[in-house]
Amino acid sequence: MKKNEKIAIFLLIFAAFVIVAAGLEFVDQWKPDLIIPGPSVTRTARLSDYFPKLKGEYCDTTIYFLESGEPGGTVMVLGGTHPNEPSSLLSAVLLIENAVVTQGRIIVIPQANLSGFSHNDPQEASPRKIHFETAGGGVRVFRYGSRATNPIHQWPDPDIYINQFGQSLSGSETRNLNRGYPGDPEGNYTEQICYGIMEVIRQEASDLSIDLHEASPEYPVINAIVAHERAIDLASIAVLDLQMEDLDYSLEISPPSFRGLTHREWGDYSDTLAILMETANASQGRIRGKTDEALVLTGKDKMYVKAAELGRLYVPYDENGHPIEERVGRHLTATKMLVENMNMLWPEQAVVYHGVPDYYELMEQGYGNYLLPSL
């Protein structure tokens, strides 16, 4: 055998090792996250129960029902529309694991775009997982995913994504769950997930539906509530109540021409009151420094402190960062305010619950303290 052939064989073995090592990491990211049904969870369903075409697909995500058995309204909370916005999933998880519902019911979909949790965004150097120590000393792990559907589930991207309203978006938005509403049963994979979620809202007659997000600190709509026009009165009162709690929010009306988003299409294509909320996440920002698990959990970043000093951000930013407790706390407190004000405005569709930590409790006790132990 010639020398160069020996080298080739050696290099092939080397390649095989790298392929196996990298492949195992990618495949590990496909494994489901542990979410433990809490005291009020009466049952779970799958997205395919509402849209059977999704049966057997990776995106067939779990839906948790927290039912009191007492007549009242229905609130739906959606996490994980964008799996690189961790406060969204983590807020939904705390609701599932802690809420005690005494009137009406809450439906929680913690991982709306489950496919997006199965991979990371290329070239973003995101951590694959985030960890929390629970009160009992155990560790709970959640995936940090990508903004969009995994291309192994939906590809190729077109050069230009023309949404269902004929508007042109950049090609990669074809995998963005928050551009594909109201969904299309015959559309692409992501549009089909949108359709499934729309069906949950319609079939369960959700009165109030909340989509949780995060955004980079340089994005204008942040620490914000975006409301469909039918939900704007409710959102306005909630924003005032949040101000009383020292939590500042800006309020935006869903722009009528910005199609395909939850706060627009949920309201237009069902009777629900549609709300979207944002917190500040440095780990998805464009001017961040080192991207690791600590950045996701603390939001501490020198570059953002500097940007704030230069007046370039839409949220205050200092060396204390924006920890995950603050971001989850904002989502959970704002959710509570929205639900309580819905109860005041429409008592016949009231939803009453307790047991979920608010902003101040989370800041004091830490996120992991409110997770159930993984035994």
């Binding site: 160069n4 080298i7 092939l12």
Partner: protein, 50 residues
Amino acid sequence: MFIITLTYRLIILFFTTLVILDMFKEEDIWNQLTSVFVIIPFVLRLFMIK
């Protein structure tokens, strides 16, 4: 969709095979190394892992 994926994977299989064959013919070790860096992502794509 299924047809596109199948075609795509066949194309990758074809090119991966070509690159491997070329690596055995190549005399320059640096060019052989370059082939390895092509083979790794191609195989991951072939199996639709990434």
